[in-house]
């Protein structure tokens, strides 16, 4: 029974789960997700951004999954007013950067905006719509099981695509055989009737 007790203890303490190896980027995203509201979490996973309300002014900010120029200040109609950029001085993973920005805007908004650099638009190659930002999001943010399954299926389909000619020829052969069989029966039927 001591063995069973140890296994149950391990399961209860989450020891098996903690052995999962995760990259620093994934750890950063996990920490971020753990400190978002359910609504922000859904928005982030779906749209690569989440909204934060400034703690002092009540202004709505949109934080994008991107290292630079990733904070949009929105007006009452949800349109962009400014793009702000500030980040921790140390080199951090992106999840930590986003969490630091969220905490800063909620807890010491004025100071954060004072040190931030302002832009009228996103950078062409560094903004949230850049290829780098999209790839980083795909790599670090864990998708739900059905999205992962769909992705696997898509990649499997791409892998067998070079042999698509074989499937096409097979399909044509099957259709031809069925058609010839049908034609034969029709001809035989017409012979019988005559």
């Amino acid at each position: 029974m001591p063995v069973v007790r140890r296994i149950l203890g391990a399961l209860r303490n989450g020891a098996l789960g903690s052995r999962r190896r995760t990259s620093p980027e994934q750890r950063g995203v996990e920490l971020l997700l753990a400190n978002l509201t359910p609504q922000q979490r859904r928005q982030y996973k779906r749209d690569r951004h989440f909204d934060v309300i400034g703690g002092q002014s009540g202004t709505r900010y949109r934080l994008w999954h991107c290292f630079q120029q990733n904070i949009e200040e929105l007006d009452g109609n949800g349109r962009r007013r400014w793009v702000w950029c500030f980040h921790p001085r140390e080199t951090l993973v992106l999840g930590d950067v986003l969490l630091a920005q969220k905490m800063a805007l909620e807890l010491f908004e004025r100071e954060a905006i004072r040190i931030a650099h302002g832009y009228s638009n996103f950078g062409a190659n560094a903004g949230p719509h850049s290829r780098i930002a999209r790839d980083d999001f795909e790599r670090t943010v864990r998708k739900s099981w059905y999205r992962r399954l769909a992705r696997r299926l898509r990649s499997s389909f791409r892998a067998i695509r070079p042999e698509a000619d074989f499937y096409r020829v097979t399909r044509v052969c099957i259709v031809a055989a069925a058609f010839s069989g049908l034609l034969t029966r029709v001809v035989q039927g017409s012979t019988i009737f005559h």
Binding site: G28, G55, P88, R89, E90, V93, L107
Partner: protein
């Protein structure tokens, strides 16, 4: 079957254990470093206070995490009752 706990007992024990456990989360390039300590252990609390002093002295800001995503609060001094303290490095414009 003495090792089997009823769900109520298990929850009670877990809550009791959780209520005395605190964690300092320091953002770094490896994602984060977590330093756990128990409030009933005076030595661990002293170490945690020293860590808090050193990090805030080095420019980190300490914030109490709410745990549900709602805004936490800034911490000017060490508070051993805060369950999760996040240390944010100094910010700069980009």
């Amino acid at each position: 079957m003495s090792f089997m706990q009823s769900p109520q007992t298990f929850e009670k024990n877990r809550d009791r254990a959780a209520s005395t456990k605190r964690v300092h989360i320091v953002m770094d390039r490896f994602g984060d470093s977590r330093h756990e300590f128990d409030v009933t252990d005076a030595q661990a609390v002293a170490l945690a206070e020293e860590r808090f002093r050193q990090l805030t002295g080095a420019g980190f800001r300490a914030a109490a995490l709410s745990g549900d995503g709602s805004p936490g609060k800034m911490l000017g001094k060490f508070d051993k009752e805060v369950e999760q303290t996040l240390f944010i490095p100094h910010l700069q414009g980009g």
